[in-house]
């Protein structure tokens, strides 16, 4: 009878493997902290107020910008006596803004672009801005590439959007400005072009449109993009992890197929977990350097979602397989777990629907947001609450199952002293290692949660001394990412079937151990299938 590698591995080898994996883990954390810059960068751009002299305002071939040849005529909004109407006003944001006398351009390594609008509204005693008034924005986004002439802006996308404007004010005096919340405006999943230009108009086509938003003095746009350095570190990590995990999966599956039996459920689950991780590890970001792939944000979400779903399902099955399943004669299959897994499926599906409603629609219209309309907000909240509830149910259920496994093990421990010493030592070893892996899972989960909380509380950078600065946010990301890779790597290695046969001495017993021999002889149904001995051990006790 054979078991898995973890059961047959000597303590020394296990220690070497674990310390090697821990080293990898620490390396991942340090790479993120010392090599990578912050994950994302924000740049504030003050809108230039341009005057649109054309009579036809729907023309998307004319663009307003403040730098370069053909820059627009600027106007001062503080001056009330000018002869133009609201239709003539365009807020222009040309990005990126220049630095060090150099015209910067976006690099494709910067991956994505998120725009957040902030308005400075001046207080007027006679027109107070009501909380939660609606601002209607006619936003047009254009792009240009290196080598194009200064005025060769091409339309990227255009939309008229409504947003909630939440403003309050402490000191109600003229000259003072309202405190307005930031308005998320757009999300671009790919940063394919070199320069972007946003033209914002505040239309007043319908009565009441933009009527309650006060006197806008300035408009700010904050653009957030992923840092190129971070992308490089991230993609390199993926490039390293991807072949490693693929190789270990191939090795694992080979090993399973070398056995005479068919793969058992736990092994299938391990395989799918490995594949899900591969999917996550696949360095698809290289493609964005060549092609315009706006769906990368959505794809990233889906890849992560699939991975988490598989990981959660694996934990459930793992706990279940080490428990007493009543029907021991049949090969366990995923069907037995449908009740347990429905919580995972429910959570994933609701999150997927939410994501499709938000980021899916943003593929067509980067200005879209589900949170604007009341219906959309309710819908989004429903899905998020649903996902939250299923996560809670899942974790309660998982805790219950793990608790049951431990109860079982401790129960069986009581009978251990009656066994012969060799066998007892072996089973104690198995239990110890099972608990060890349980502990590792808990540790990984706890570290992720603690790291996340620390990241929320602490400042972005940790200083050890003058020279060493640790970029905590990046370190957290690479650390957690590395940790789950290492964790699954360890699972695939340790839970692969072992080829070592038990020492003959163990099976050829003396006459006094005969009773135990009968007790521990393989069940008839199991003769063909060589399941992990721990599973069989627990099952056997159940039959007893």
């Amino acid at each position: 009878m054979t078991g898995t590698i973890i059961e047959n591995l000597s303590g020394r080898k296990l220690a070497v493997l674990v310390s090697f994996l821990l080293l990898c883990q620490v390396a991942c954390f340090l790479i993120g902290g010392l090599v990578a810059p912050m994950p994302a960068n924000a740049q504030n751009i003050l809108g230039t107020v341009c005057r649109d002299t054309a009579t036809e305002k729907n023309d998307t071939s004319t663009w307003f910008y403040n730098r370069g040849k053909g820059a627009c005529k600027t106007v001062d909004l503080g001056d009330f006596n000018q002869l133009f109407t609201e239709h003539d006003i365009v807020f222009a944001f040309q990005m990126p803004v220049p630095r060090e006398s150099m015209t910067l351009d976006y690099s494709r390594w910067q991956q994505n672009l998120i725009g957040v609008l902030q308005v400075d509204i001046r207080y007027h005693s006679q027109m107070e801005v009501k909380p939660r008034s609606i601002i209607t924005v006619d936003a047009r986004l254009a792009y240009r590439n290196k080598g194009d002439p200064d005025d060769a802006w091409k339309l990227y996308t255009q939309s008229v959007e409504k947003r909630h404007l939440d403003c309050d004010i402490d000191i109600k005096t003229e000259e003072y400005l309202y405190n307005c919340s930031a308005i998320p405006l757009f999300e671009l999943g790919s940063l394919y072009h070199d320069y972007y230009l946003l033209n914002v108009r505040l239309p007043v086509d319908a009565p009441g449109m933009n009527a309650n938003i006060g006197h806008i003095q300035d408009m700010w746009l904050t653009v957030i993009n992923q840092n190129g350095g971070f992308t490089k570190v991230w993609v390199s990590l993926k490039t390293v992890f991807f072949p490693c995990i693929v190789a270990i999966i191939v090795w694992f599956w080979n090993r399973v197929h070398m056995l005479e039996r068919k793969p058992v459920l736990l092994e299938k689950m391990l395989l799918s977990l490995g594949i899900a991780l591969c999917l996550l590890n696949m360095p698809l970001e290289y493609l964005t350097l060549q092609f315009d792939l706006p769906f990368m944000l959505l794809l990233g979400d889906i890849r992560q979602g699939v991975f988490y779903a598989t990981l959660f399902s694996f934990w459930l099955v793992f706990a279940g397989e080490h428990m007493l399943i009543q029907d021991t004669t049949a090969q366990s299959s995923l069907k037995q777990y449908w009740r347990h897994l429905s919580a995972v499926a429910m959570g994933c599906i609701s999150l997927f629907i939410f994501d499709m409603c938000e980021r899916g629609v943003q593929l067509r219209n980067p200005f879209y947001s589900i949170w604007v309309t009341d219906l959309g907000t309710n819908l989004a909240l429903t899905f998020i609450v649903l996902a939250g509830i299923s996560t809670c149910i899942y974790f309660l259920f998982l805790c219950y199952m793990v608790w049951k496994v431990f109860v079982n093990i401790s129960h069986k421990r009581a009978t251990l002293p009656t066994m012969c010493s060799v066998r007892r030592l072996h089973y104690e070893g198995i239990i110890y290692r099972f608990k060890f892996l349980m502990l590792a899972t808990l540790l990984c989960a706890a570290l992720t949660v603690i790291g996340f909380i620390l990241g929320q509380v602490a400042e972005g950078q940790w200083k050890w001394d003058e020279n060493i600065e640790l970029e905590y946010t990046s370190a957290f990301f690479t650390g957690v990412y590395g940790m789950w890779n290492v964790y699954i790597f360890a699972l695939l290695v340790l839970y692969a079937p072992s080829h070592k046969r038990w020492p003959a001495a163990e099976n050829t017993s003396d006459s006094q151990n005969l009773s135990e021999e009968i007790e521990f002889s393989p069940l008839p149904s199991e003769t063909a299938s060589e399941i992990s001995s721990l599973t069989s051990f627990i099952r056997k006790t159940n039959v007893d």
Partner: protein, 343 residues
């Protein structure tokens, strides 16, 4: 640059006031000269060459030449400082005038009064604010990324992003006012501290805004940035500082007494407030004929001389409607308004 005058301060304490009032052009530190000329110029004309008009030092000329938008920014800073000062002190005894009690000899820059301290802080605050704004709008092109000092900016920006604009504004303000060569006598220390207090008044008003953009838009990834406050809110803080300014004794700097921990603690505490050296003269003479706001304000502003109250019909904007984002449509109403004026 300041060698001769700092020595004279050391030699004779009594000479200090004399020297500072009779400063010869050119021997004064750039810091004082710049702020004085920025704040003194009340004309509305826009100078084509703000730096020349400032009679700038070589360093300032360099800063101006490096960035074509700098002159306009300085002009913006100047107007912003003056207009917000006049607004905030309209009903105070000192109304941002350059001389006390209309006596040309009593220039506020002659000594370091409470008002002088305030002006240094205000002008520096305005300068750093305007520079930060210039960087954000793209009218200043020379703004640097502070995390990439001395490196290839374009490459550095693509890998690690850029620091925030206000930090750059702070640095350029210090450079422009030539902090390094402002001297290290008591006057210079006082003025430098006031400048720093002013810049910090803007810094304290920076508000952090965050945006979550992680997995499915959750807060697993959160990016935060500092939002530049409107200058008026920094002005509000500065006016508070003006009222809580600390008077310091004029000390002979060459014979520095040993700094005990107690003294050091006091110095550290004082570093956050405006500091002045001379008491402001009584300004009651100058408030004759000044308009005041209400009964209470008139009592203090008119120094107990009483006030005249009269009514005047005033055209004002009323029934204002926000027609659209950027314009206010108002009717003109005529109503009788009470006016107060000091006797």
């Amino acid at each position: 640059m300041l060698g001769s005058s700092s020595v004279s301060y050391a030699i004779a304490l009594s000479a200090l006031t004399f020297i500072s009032s009779e400063i010869v052009e050119g021997s004064r530190p750039v810091l004082q000269r710049t702020i004085e000329s920025l704040f003194s110029d009340r004309s509305e004309t826009v100078y084509p060459d703000a730096c020349k008009w400032l009679r700038s030092s070589p360093r300032q000329t360099k800063i101006c030449n490096r960035d074509p938008g700098m002159e306009e920014t300085i002009d913006v800073a100047k107007n912003q400082a003056i207009s917000s000062c006049e607004d905030a002190f309209r009903y105070d005894k000192w109304n941002c005038s350059l001389v006390f009690n209309n006596k040309p000899k009593r220039n506020i820059f002659n000594k370091i009064y409470r008002e002088t301290a305030f002006i240094f802080a205000l002008t520096a605050a305005s300068l750093s604010h305007a520079i930060a704004k210039g960087c954000a709008s793209g009218s200043l092109v020379k703004c640097s990324c502070l995390n990439s000092f001395g490196k290839n900016t374009v490459k550095e920006w693509k890998t690690a992003g850029c620091g925030d604009d206000f930090r750059y504004g702070k640095r350029i303000t210090r450079n422009f006012l030539d902090f390094k060569h402002a001297g290290n006598d008591q006057i210079a220390d006082t003025l430098k501290q006031n400048v720093l207090v002013g810049v910090e008044a803007v810094g304290e008003q920076l508000r952090e805004v965050c945006k979550c953009h992680g997995f499915s838009g959750s807060c697993t990834t959160k990016t935060c940035w500092k939002r530049l406050p409107p200058f008026s809110s920094a002005m509000g803080l500065l006016k508070k500082q003006y009222h809580h300014a600390v008077k310091k004794k004029i000390v002979n700097y060459t014979t520095k007494r040993a700094i005990t921990p107690k003294v050091r603690k006091r110095i550290r505490k004082d570093r956050k407030s405006l500091v002045y050296l001379q008491k402001t003269p009584n300004l009651c003479v100058s408030t004759v004929g000044r308009p005041c706001r209400d009964r209470q304000n008139c009592a203090t502003l008119c120094c107990g001389r009483g006030y005249n109250k009269y009514q005047r019909a005033v055209d004002s904007r009323c029934n204002c409607k926000m027609l659209n984002c950027c314009f206010v449509k108002c009717d003109t109403c005529r109503e009788n308004v009470d006016f107060y004026e000091c006797k």
